[in-house]
Amino acid sequence: MKAFHAEISKLLSLPGIWLALLIGALAPAVIAALDAIAEKEAIIAGVSTRLPEMGYSGLGLGVQGVIILGVLAVSSEYRTESSEGAGGQQISTSLMVVSSRLQLFLAKAGAVSVISILLCILAVILIVPTTRYILGDYAPLLEWTRLAGAVCYWTFTALLAFGLTLLTKQGMIPLTMLMINSSLVSFSVLLAKVTKLAFYLPDRAGMEMFMFTKNSASTEVTGSLFDSYHTPFTGGLIMFAWVAVLLGIAAIVFHRRDVAA
């Protein structure tokens, strides 16, 4: 528990984390607001097929905050001090304070998870009045089960960012890759045009926990990427499997790797 508290203290004393928290809290509400404004006319006319997604789209596309959080939690450990300050890295200090690498790994993953959960709850609290303000009585009520799915999606995304950065030891590659994938060009969207296996990628499968609720059993499958492919539970399970495998590999590499390597 002491190691966990230390990791929370470590994260909250980094200015970059506050930027991540700000983005994490505000970006979903902004995205949800833009989405609601764009769909408002169709919703009022009763022709929108995307009404059930209102609000949730912000949670799906607004995960950048937790991506930055997951990356920074690790990359900050490996940031080399200025050239004047020799080649020191904080990871040496961290491992001299918490000598068990597994314990440090778990404390850090725990801190990232808890902050992600709280951040997602805060994002939801901001999304509800935003969509209500724009759509008025047309705003759909957010369901608890789907919100819980979104919280899982955020936490798993943060842990994927955390695991990837632990493997690369630096933030630029995972940060660029995950940020572009989650906002501009989704790799799974592109790949879905080629193979159905794309629906098993963690971001696409994970989003099924709260997005794409159109039931393919009862409605015509349009072949659109936005059709539901898995049940929310299966989608969550697939994403969790990705997280578990990646964190398992990251933990083994972290345990075996020399700090100086």
Binding site: S76, M96, V97
Partner: protein
């Protein structure tokens, strides 16, 4: 024995960095681990502190590897390269998370900042620290839990003359109080007055190990002895 390094070997790829290092550090004494840059001093200390893995041999603290210590910070305080802090964090915030992880009161952070003379810079981000201030912060972190063993890698690097004088006096006091102090350096002159025991490493091998008098031998200074030993061993002229 408090610190025991036994036949330590470290290879990276085809390169052998340490070739069977053996020495000990005793309580109540300052042990100087001396050698030129790249001789293997930091590699040895990193293995001793559990940061790197040994290819063969052992480096033990009270008979245990570092990773098995119940209270690492209360047993060993160490300062390696630089400050060991993230440049964007303040010195105080850096010490606070360490205190939190070791279960120490926050008041201890103010105490060690005072000991190393960083009280006024406590709220400044580490990236604004000079090299010497960074070293002082690293030493403050090592002292947080008042450990019985201090391990310092190149502690006088970047310190001004006043800082060097301070650390000499400080280390002597720690050893006289019965603590174990192991410090590495490539600066012989700065340390001759501070150390009791000397271990000299050259190209991954120990070339001398004994008390200051034994290692200095017939040479007039430790520095002379060091150059004589290291150049004889390498067969080259300095």
């Amino acid at each position: 024995m408090v610190l025991t390094i036994n036949n330590l070997v470290k290879r990276r790829g085809t390169q052998e960095i340490l070739s069977g290092i053996t020495f000990e550090a005793r309580p109540g004494r300052v042990t100087g681990f001396l050698g030129p840059n790249g001789a293997g001093k930091s590699s040895t200390l990193r293995i001793l502190l559990g940061l790197d893995h040994a290819t063969a041999g052992s480096a033990l603290i009270h008979g245990k590897p570092f990773a098995e210590l119940q209270h690492p910070l209360r047993t060993v305080g160490a300062a390696l390269d630089g400050s060991g802090a993230h440049p964007m964090r303040t010195g105080q915030a850096h010490l606070r998370w360490i205190a939190c992880a070791a279960g120490l009161p926050r008041s201890r952070v103010e105490e060690v900042l005072d000991i190393v003379g960083l009280t006024k810079a406590a709220g400044t981000r580490v990236k604004r620290y000079s090299l010497g201030m960074g070293r002082r912060l690293g030493i403050a972190a090592a002292l947080l839990a008042d450990p019985e063993i201090l391990i310092l890698d190149e502690p006088v690097n970047g310190l001004d003359p006043e800082g060097i004088r301070w650390i000499r006096t400080f280390l002597r006091k720690r050893a006289e109080a019965g603590n174990t102090v192991l410090l590495s350096s490539h600066l012989m002159g700065e340390l001759a007055e501070t150390v009791d025991d000397v271990v000299i490493i050259k190209q991954g091998r120990i070339v001398a190990d004994g008390t200051l008098q034994e290692v200095t031998g017939s040479h007039s200074t430790l520095e002379d002895a060091f150059f004589a030993l290291t150049s004889e061993q390498a067969g080259d002229a300095w």
